[in-house]
Structure formats: structure tokens, C-alpha cells
Amino acid sequence: MTKKIRVLVAKPGLDGHDRGAKIVARALRDAGMEVVYTGLHQTAEQIVITAMQEDVDVVGLSLLSGAHMTLFVDVAELLKKKQMEDVLLIGGGIIPQEDVPLLKKAGIAEVFGPGTPVEEIVTYIKKNVKR
């Protein structure tokens, strides 16, 4: 039996910048994970359906547009609604510090800002993956 960690890297909403998401996706690949990348402009619903069909262990959201309080929270709520609480939800991008506690309260397990070494994200996922 060979379990691999599967991760969905997703870009919700109107945000055309995915260099960061791609760097993270590549780092996770290099750490031996299977990474599904959605591409740009996803709705929360598309992300959650994709997470379900791909049966991922982790969803990583990336957003630089400032709409994280809406979009990240939408994804968290939809995951809950679909009883997918065993999926580890994390986020990254341009997120003001004061928003982080609110996001955590809404169900985003961790938030990684600019300058985070990718190894930190890899370690976090390996340690916190729920199944």
C-alpha cells in the first residue's frame, strides 16, 4: 500500500497572477506529492467539486486580489457543507496579518504569506494532513 498526499492548488476569483501558486505546486511535487492545479479564475463551487472528484487531502488557495475574506471563507463553508472537513484547507498570497485570525476562525487551517520558504509549507502539510 502506497499512500501519496494529493493536493489541489487553486486560484479562486478574479486574480490573474499564479506565479506563486505554480512555485508552491512545483515544490509540493518535488516533495513527492501529487498536485492538481486548477488554473485561474475558479469559483468556490468549482474548487470544492474538483477537490471531491480528485479526492485530495489538501486544498491550497492562492489569492493576491484582496478578496480572501469572501473567497477563502466561501471555500471553507462549502467544504463543511459537503462534509469534507477531513480536507486540510490552507491559504496563501497577499493576506494582511489582521485577517489571519479571522480566516483561521472560518476554517482555514494556516495562512502562508510572501517570503515563506516552500519547505515550511511542505513540512506543515506532512505534519497536519488529516487522513
Binding site: G32, E34, Y37, Q46
Partner: protein, 312 residues
């Protein structure tokens, strides 16, 4: 686990996804469910798509899926991308081209890594095809990894194999090489909006004329996924190929081929598991060493006995 197979037969997406993960991970609990669903498989049309990387396979699959959805058919899509031989990781990016299908309940898409399997496929693929089939998908579209010239294993699974080419890949000598070019039931020349399309189609025409099958000439369809051209013709050719298979009894033959390949794959996996499970191997071997040392048994007979036990 009976619950899981019932949910799969009812087409529940979450259950389908879970069982696929189990078979991908070689989880022992998957076996029971796989046994339960087998009697309910065999209805779906399995269409394989292979071709060089960047030939637009994902975009074509998207267009085909849309067209089949208009016919109200349920569509399962399996998109395979390479697993790194160095790290075991994979970046599965085929879904990017199909994302608009995500919110359609009649479509199920799964991305898979090759996980060390050669030939452009992944060893769990046979199981995944059975799962999607049992879940009531009418059409199963499989996208292999972008292949070179001899990743041709898709023919062992698909009822209809599409080989996707694009203009400007090389001269006519390339097209008569062995491998990829031998497996096409239908040639698709995608990116027909690009220059050189006429020459590529003409070269394929002359290749197809060299194939000696009086019953059926391999069709060539020029498509442009970008401009949504040629998709209807492609669907027509796929339907005609499947009618031809059924009329000529080749359909049965192909299905038997698939089960043969699947069975061999299961046996291969089990043997590999046995051989690479050093503890188990050692325990099995240990029981005979005494007898061999006391000359009650020779090593060859011992080997036959052990293999007989595994293969029984």
C-alpha cells in the same frame, strides 16, 4: 463495504473518488468492492486518446465531453500525467483545460499520475475504468501522458484509440515508423488552424493507404479545439468505429484483450508485492532451508513448491 459498491452504482461522486484513491494506493479494502462491481461493468464506451505532448489532447477531450453531454450521455474522464521518477511527485494539470465541466453533475474527472508505470498509463487504470463504468458513465475518455513514439499501452484498454497529431511534426518517414502510428483507430490532426495542415493530412492519407485492411480504412479527422471545428466529424467517426467493432465481432475481442491485460497486471502486482516484501519472502524460503541442508529436498523442487503455493 457493501455500502460503497451500492453508492458507486448509484453514481455518487464522493464514493467514486474514494474508491479510485483506494485502488491507486493499492489499499487492500478496495479488492472487495472491485469484486462486487465487476458484474455491473462493460456498458461504457472507452475511448483512449494518445499523442505527442502539446498536441491539444486535453482541449480535445473537453470538446468531446461537451458534445457527448449535449447527447445527454454521462462522461467520465481520466487524465494521466507523468509521475517524477526522481521524487515520486506529480503535477497534474490536464484539468485546467476542462475546468468548465467541473460544475456539471454528468461529468466526473479524475487526474492520475503514472506512478512508475511505463507505456503512458498507470497501473490502477484498469480498475478506474471499471469503477467509472459501474458508476453508469456512458462514455469514458482516457488521456494518456504526452507520448513519444512507443507508449502504446492504451490499446489494451480502449475500445477506440485516437492518435492525435499536429501539423509540422516531420516528414512522411516519421509517419511510417512503428509504434504510435500502428495503434490508431482514428487519426486526429488537431490545431488545423495552423499552417501545414494540408501536408500533414496528405501524408497520413498515404500512410493509411499502405495499411492492408479491406474492411475499414482508418479515417483522418482534422480538428481545431481552439476554433471548435471538426468535433462533430470526430464524434461521427468514433460512433462508426464502434459500430464496425460490433459488426465484425472485434468488439468482443478487444474486451477480452482488456481483461487479459488487467488480469496480467493484477498477477504482476501481486508477484511484485511478494518478491519485494522481503520479510514475507524470507519466512517462506526459511521453511525449506532445513530440508535442503539435510538433503531431504533439492533447491529446485523447493522453488517449485514455493512458486506452486503462490501461483495456486
Amino acid at each position: 463495504m457493501t455500502g460503497l459498491s451500492d453508492k458507486i452504482r448509484a453514481g455518487d461522486h464522493r464514493s467514486i473518488a474514494r474508491l479510485i484513491t483506494q485502488v491507486e494506493n493499492d489499499a487492500p479494502e478496495a479488492v472487495q468492492t472491485m469484486k462486487q462491481i465487476h458484474p455491473f461493468t462493460g456498458k461504457a464506451s472507452v475511448i483512449g486518446m494518445t499523442g505527442v505532448m502539446g498536441s491539444g489532447k486535453s482541449s480535445l477531450i473537453y470538446e468531446l465531453a461537451l458534445a457527448y453531454r449535449i447527447q445527454n450521455k454521462k462522461v467520465g474522464i481520466i487524465a494521466i500525467d507523468p509521475t517524477s521518477p526522481f521524487t515520486g511527485g506529480a503535477l497534474l494539470g490536464d484539468r485546467i483545460r476542462m475546468i468548465d465541466l467541473s460544475s456539471d453533475e454528468g461529468v466526473f474527472i479524475r487526474s492520475m499520475g503514472t506512478r512508475g508505470m511505463m507505456g503512458g498509463l498507470t497501473s490502477a487504470l484498469y480498475d478506474v475504468v471499471e469503477i467509472l463504468d459501474a458508476a453508469g458513465m456512458d462514455i469514458i475518455l482516457i488521456e494518456t501522458v504526452g507520448v513519444g513514439q512507443d507508449e502504446v499501452d492504451i490499446v489494451k484498454i480502449a475500445d477506440t484509440t485516437l492518435v492525435v497529431l499536429i501539423p509540422g511534426l516531420g516528414d512522411s518517414v516519421q509517419t511510417i515508423k512503428a509504434g504510435l502510428m500502428e495503434i490508431a483507430d482514428i487519426f486526429v490532426v488537431n490545431k488545423a488552424d495552423k499552417p501545414g495542415i494540408e501536408q500533414t493530412v496528405a501524408e497520413l492519407e498515404s500512410l493509411v493507404d499502405l495499411v492492408n485492411n479491406p474492411e475499414r480504412r482508418i479515417p483522418i479527422v482534422a480538428t481545431s479545439a481552439k476554433e471548435k471545428k471538426g468535433i462533430e466529424q470526430l464524434i461521427t467517426q468514433i460512433t462508426e468505429h464502434q459500430l464496425y467493432l460490433k459488426k465484425s465481432q472485434r468488439f468482443e475481442q478487444r474486451r477480452r484483450q482488456r481483461y487479459e491485460a488487467e488480469l496480467i497486471e493484477i498477477i504482476r502486482k501481486r508477484l511484485m508485492d511478494f518478491i519485494f516484501d522481503e520479510k514475507k519472502l524470507k519466512t517462506t524460503v526459511d521453511c525449506c532451508i532445513d530440508q535442503i541442508a539435510k538433503k531431504q529436498l533439492d533447491p529446485y523442487t523447493a522453488a517449485d513448491q514455493i512458486l506452486g503455493k503462490i501461483l495456486k
